[in-house]
Amino acid sequence: MSESLTASERGSKCIAHLVRIGLFLLFVSLAAVGDAEAQRNQDRPNADQAESAIAQLRSPYCPGLMLEVCPSPNAAALRDSIYELAAEGRTSGELIEWMIGRHGEEWRGVPQRSGAGLWAWIMPPLALLLGIGIVVGWLRGNRTESKEKQLAVADVSDADRERLTAAMREWEESGGEEEV
């Protein structure tokens, strides 16, 4: 018995070491990531506005692809134009409208938050809220029914109740699991 306990302790230590090594590697890799975000596109003025606009536009030169990933040279030229306009101080919204004005509404890659486009945004959260409402309502209904049933079968002797409590305690101490 003592041997197996020693083995378990060794195992615990081994696992703890592995976790520590894993966490160390994770932290080392992430620490390096930390300051990189600020360095992105430092060389282009107002680049965040341009990036934001480019990320919301579809490419007229690559069917089905967004402008930000389209490898076509024409798309590269269009991206450059957007960066240049951003450098003049235009906002992301203005850049999108400029591109849409030149190429057409169908190249807008993200639905607007007004008009018909609004429905794209509101339906998923509405459906999720509805689902949550149904599940919570169903659970509450079930719990009320369950309590009524419990009241109906409350004639449990004190001895049985004690045995039940002891069994529950034992089960909980075993981790509440049924299989090892």
């Binding site: 083995a7 894993g22 990189a36 389209c70 490898p71 998923p124």
Partner: protein
């Protein structure tokens, strides 16, 4: 051979209609002989479809360009490997392939159940044959692979260059395997509804099929991501393209089902919900085929469009939806739960939450995918829904799922006590908080990245603690060494511990996704040989890339232009990358092959975006061609593929048949010296 193939398709159609009728009539009238005739038809249909498939492959290998399908997807110079994969390269052949795989799985089911589940089998066979008959009707009437051209061209058009890639060759069949394997649980669900045997038996019978289907769907999706990453040349692996979304939809509901089914098995709850999930998942498989084939929504998969077939699929899906809904409504009283959820703080509630999020995510993806069609129908304006929409909707849901992945498997059934919560969650929460704090102190400010890693650490700790608890307990009880106890622990509870390993894989994958927040990109145009450019990695080092030259050579099917780029990392040479452009003799298309340098935490990814004067390079008249490169550093992308491999291993462990207790090793003894078999027998 091809004539035999065409005849085989027609005979298979007639037989599957006969078989479906016989199976349903036999099941309804309890006539075993008629039902058996229906069941055996499945095996004959498989044999006939195998003959038809071989005939198509023979036509490809024999360069029989009088057949429209062969002429459209092959040419004389196409390598043999791609000629064989021509069976599923185009729509016509892929429908035959779909039917072939379905008939194969159906035959396995019939053979497996020849002496059991007899009350289900006539209806199972009938349902499978109805689906097969549908595919065969489509194949022989509107998409016949043996349709001949008025004349036989000397050569074919060749295979789409983007499809001439290893991952693309295995991606569609793997997805089809997933779609078709899910037809088996669907058929059992319909059979259970028809015969009223709605206990857990149909679920336990189809458990492995569900997991097998999920395994193929998962891998099919990952293979597709790999193909997009190396072949499409835009630096990403997932684009929320309608066809990608179509494959994700059944995966989401199938994953929800794999979790909720445990509640039905354990507590007799969620019978109706599970039934709806199985029926819905199969319908989403059909929807996926419809979306892929219709071309109604603009997609990078525009190489396969056919409106008539799309509408036939839509019609079939509508009929199946109505019949499924009718059957569920008919049996609604028998699908009442046998127990109730006792507490919001319980495993049942956590799994319910998980299901809600999976189905919510499915709805969001479906809504976004169909929104261009919906908006066009309602307001006559096709409103495109691009990746930013999905990212905004899916990322929060993904993070909630990540949290539930840590909570669900370890929280207690019925009602978790304070002690249970403390025992199971103290360490995981501490580790999660430490990870978040260290990341913040290291300067990471991206909230989603911090959350992903903190929640990932939380989940990984719960898994480690579970493995440790189980291993130590088993070592103590059975008197085994820790290594042996660890292996036996997994062997004896494959489903549970396989599931944990899948969770580990998913966490690693999520961390890989989070790396996209730190993608670095640079585009350099008009570079001449000898010129260099630099790009800084988010991990602090700098790559210096020197464009050396471009070499041009012919491959079996066209020209390859390969640029050599010398890579130095912080001044130390680490190799040469060769991004390429390929042209094809039969098609006026240029295909890009990216150059990737992979290390454990990032990919250096180079695209040869443009080359001046391809003809000059090919003729040898331009010795210094200018080239445009798009250079990306994609942090943690290798983690995505590693996560996929871990998930596959976990699924295989869960799928592997358990060792029957009678076959346990004879030397397996408990610490009291009693033989394991005797102990199990209660001696």
């Amino acid at each position: 051979m091809t004539q035999i193939g065409e005849i085989a398709l027609w005979v298979a159609l007639v037989l599957s209609i006969w078989g479906a009728g016989a199976a349903f009539v036999g099941g309804r009238t309890k006539r075993g002989d008629i039902a058996l005739s229906g069941e055996r038809t499945v095996i004959v249909v498989f044999a006939l479809l195998a003959i038809a498939s071989l005939a198509i492959i023979a036509a490809f290998l024999g360069n029989e360009y009088q057949y429209q399908y062969v002429a459209g997807y092959s040419n004389r110079e196409l390598p043999t490997f791609y000629k064989i994969s021509g069976l599923w390269a185009g729509q016509t052949g892929s429908l035959v392939f779909w039917a072939l795989l379905l008939s194969l799985f159906s035959s396995v089911t019939i053979v497996q159940n020849r002496n059991r589940n007899r009350e289900f089998m006539p209806y199972v066979a009938g349902t499978l044959l109805v689906v097969l008959a549908f595919f065969l009707v489509v194949i022989v009437t509107v998409s016949n692979p043996f349709t001949q051209l008025p004349f036989a061209p000397a050569d074919g058009r060749g295979l789409n260059p983007q499809l001439q890639n290893y991952w693309m060759t295995i991606h569609p069949p793997t997805l089809y395997l997933g779609f078709t394997a899910f037809t088996i649980p669907f058929a059992f669900a319909v059979a259970a509804l028809l015969n009223g045997k709605l206990d857990t038996r149909w679920i336990t019978t189809t458990r492995r099929w569900t997991l097998l289907s999920w395994f193929f769907l998962t891998n099919g999706i990952i293979f597709g991501m790999m193909w997009a990453y190396v072949e499409l040349g835009w630096g990403g692996y997932w684009f929320w393209d309608p066809v990608e979304n179509a494959s994700l939809l059944p995966w989401l509901t199938a994953t929800a089902f794999l979790h909720s089914v445990m509640i039905q098995e354990k507590r007799g709850m969620l019978k109706m919900w599970n039934m709806l999930l199985v029926l819905g998942t199969f319908l989403l498989c059909i929807l996926a085929t419809f979306l892929t084939r219709s071309g109604l929504i603009e997609s990078v998969h525009t190489f396969a469009t056919n409106l008539p077939i799309a509408f036939i699929f839509l019609g079939f899906m509508s009929v199946l939806t109505v019949i499924s809904a009718g059957l569920v409504w008919w049996r609604r009283s028998e699908l009442e739960p046998e127990a109730q959820v006792d507490s919001f703080v319980s495993r049942e509630a956590a799994f319910l939450g998980n299901n809600l999020i999976f189905v919510g995510a499915m709805f969001a993806v479906l809504w976004g995918t169909l929104f261009p069609l919906i908006s066009e129908g309602l307001v006559d304006q096709r409103i495109a829904v691009g990746p930013p929409f999905y990212n905004r909707v899916a990322i929060p849901l993904g993070l909630i799922l990540l949290a539930l992945m840590g909570i669900g498997p370890v929280i207690a059934w019925r009602k978790a006590s304070k002690r249970n919560l403390q025992r199971n969650f103290t360490w995981p929460v501490i580790v999660g908080v430490i990870v978040a704090a260290v990341m913040w102190l290291s300067g990471v400010r991206h909230a989603q990245v911090i959350l992903t890693f903190a929640l990932g650490a939380f989940v990984l700790t719960t898994v480690v603690v579970e493995f440790k608890k189980g291993t130590v307990a088993r070592a103590r009880i059975e008197g085994e060494g820790l290594g042996k106890a660890f292996v036996h622990l997994i062997e004896r509870n494959r489903r549970r511990y396989g599931g944990y390993i899948i969770h580990v894989g998913l966490v690693v994958m999520f961390m890989g996704f989070a790396g996209a927040a730190y993608d670095m990109e640079s585009e350099v145009g008009g570079m001449l040989p000898g010129e260099s450019t630099e790009i800084e990695s988010p991990f602090g080092h700098t790559y210096r890339l020197t464009y050396q030259d471009i070499s041009a050579y012919t491959h079996t099917n066209g020209w390859t232009f390969a640029a050599s780029v010398q890579v130095e990392k912080d001044g130390v040479p680490v190799g040469v990358l060769t991004p390429m452009q390929r042209t094809f003799n039969q098609r006026q298309e240029i295909n890009m092959e990216v150059g990737i340098r992979r290390v454990w935490n990032e990919d250096l990814y180079i695209i040869l975006a443009g080359v001046d004067d391809l003809d000059g390079i090919a003729n040898g008249t331009n010795a210094r061609p200018a080239a445009t490169f798009r250079i990306l550093i994609n942090p943690l992308v290798p983690w995505i593929w590693s996560g996929g491999i871990i998930m596959a291993i976990g699924t295989l462990i869960a799928l592997w048949p358990s060792v029957p207790t009678g076959q346990l090793p004879a030397e397996a003894k408990t610490r009291t010296g009693v033989k394991r078999e005797e102990e199990l027998a209660g001696v």
